[in-house]
Symmetry: C2
Subunit: 304 residues, 2 copies
């Protein structure tokens, strides 16, 4: 094993999202159906970004041989005349857990933290060299094994999901190791200087952070916000008063605050607001944005 | 036919490179073997830019259906496990006219004007929206017919080229109309406002200019430079004296100037310098650059 490969594997041992508490619980079998659904709905956003970042990678080379191999990744996700791609297989996973396919595909209820993490990945690739972009893909070195474990975990713990729905995970058990080997070969060949190797390690570190942040954002949706002990709601004025300042809230904000009693999850609050406003186009997104804003202003505690 | 399609076809009638004098002579059968070889060597540079601009187009969408169709263009040029792509077929055309495949593939003798024109196409796509990028591809509306005429012209006039070598042209007779229809459907659906339609016309105009400039640059290689009547060479000092200023030239420049007697083409001058310096890596490129500089300074006349 090359020195750079050893360094990248060491990094993945420590920081790949197989260690994230949400993933650990997924594989232990202790996620609720709601948590699984939230993960599947939101992780679809990540899936849709993969062929976008792989297309960006294609533009970074003049080498037809490189493109000929890498373009397969775009096809693996988008599918072709002969076979369904990863995006379709992920939607089937959504079908299998009872999600509305149209809603998942619309991406309209994607959590803002998930969106930020995934957009940061595309932005990273758009703004970095080919070598670093390839290195950032090397989370795939661990993805094949993770997918194998995930299939076993789902079959054992979540047997309410039909086996067919797991086709995405199965497809990745072979695709990910092949893609990882290709990426690793590229890095082994092109990361020659110390500076290049450092850049590869930094790129894969950034990618691990992004995957981690994605799961953090999903955990956030299952937390139970309540008004901070530092904050007081002046009901007549729709004002949240903090020691240092007051925050004016609109009618939606007031509805949300009234639901933040520490018993309802972020998800559940969004669902309640949806029930109040069945025809409004963007209710969930508004709820998420309000909660994020109120949390960062110190008006809400969003603990587990 | 939609109004926008009619406008684009009218534009192509007038400005597509089927009307360029070099193309007219190609199809009339009056190009020399040298001219054909120069065209094939240089046009390969354009071929290599096509999958680059198509990859750039892939990054401009989030739509898997669009990507699934468009990615085929990248594959058509790069090839896949099962079939040779357009780049390989073009190299076979080069083989068929006796070009050195390694030299063609290296791109090292590409004329500067050809490089500028092709790079401008990739830059155009990188800096424009999806709609305009798709519209710029619509020279393909005329490419299928042109390829059909080209095959007939080659079979009739250039029968020293083996029929196998024309496989690229044959492949495009079916690919180009299919791609053109796909691009046209996209433009018909998405160019709704007057401003969008104008942008499409402007994009295709720019593309026609680029293809035209490519052939201009190839004609330039067959022109016969001589010292301008306004210029005088001071042999002792390696100085070209013009009425308004003097230009110092280095040893290579001096060799080139001595070859510029109005009988040798740009191509032939580059060949002569290559014979003088068989091991220098970049002789041709240096000759081209010197001639372009001396021409634009008014020291050389590079007429037909």
């Amino acid at each position: 094993m090359s020195e750079i490969e050893a360094r990248l594997r060491e990094l993945l041992d420590e920081r790949y999202h197989h260690r994230h508490p949400f993933n650990v619980r997924m594989h232990e079998g202790t996620l609720t159906q709601e948590e699984l659904r939230t993960w599947i709905r939101n992780r679809y956003y990540y899936q849709t970004r993969i062929p976008m970042k792989d297309s960006a990678i294609l533009t970074k080379t003049e080498d037809p041989n490189f493109r000929r191999n890498w373009v397969r990744r775009v096809r693996d996700h988008d599918g072709d005349e002969k076979s369904a791609g990863g995006l379709e297989l992920w939607l089937r996973l959504g079908d299998g857990v009872g999600l509305d396919r149209e809603e998942v595909a619309s991406l309209r209820n994607v959590l803002p933290g998930v969106r930020r993490a995934c957009d940061a990945y595309v932005a990273f690739v758009n703004s970095h060299e080919l070598l670093e972009s390839v290195a950032s893909s090397l989370t795939e070195l661990y993805a094949g094994t993770l997918m194998g474990e995930r299939i076993k975990a789902f079959e054992k713990h979540y047997d309410w999901i039909a086996p067919d729905a797991l086709a995405y995970f199965r497809s990745r058990t072979s695709q990910a190791p092949r893609d990882a080997q290709e990426g690793l070969d590229y890095v082994n060949t092109h990361a020659k200087t110390e500076a290049q190797q450092e850049a590869c390690v930094a790129a894969l570190t950034r990618k691990c952070e992004i995957l981690w942040q994605l799961l953090d954002a999903i955990e956030w949706a299952h937390r139970r916000p309540k008004l901070s002990s530092r904050a007081r709601l002046r009901e007549q004025e729709n004002l949240i008063v903090l020691p240092e300042r007051a925050i004016e809230i609109n009618a939606t904000g007031r509805e949300v605050i009234d639901l933040c009693d520490g018993t309802r999850t972020v998800n559940r609050i969004a669902e309640c607001c949806r029930e109040f406003h069945p025809d409004a186009p963007q209710v969930e997104a508004e709820v998420y944005d309000f909660l994020e804003g109120a949390e960062s202003a110190g008006a809400l505690e969003i603990s587990r």
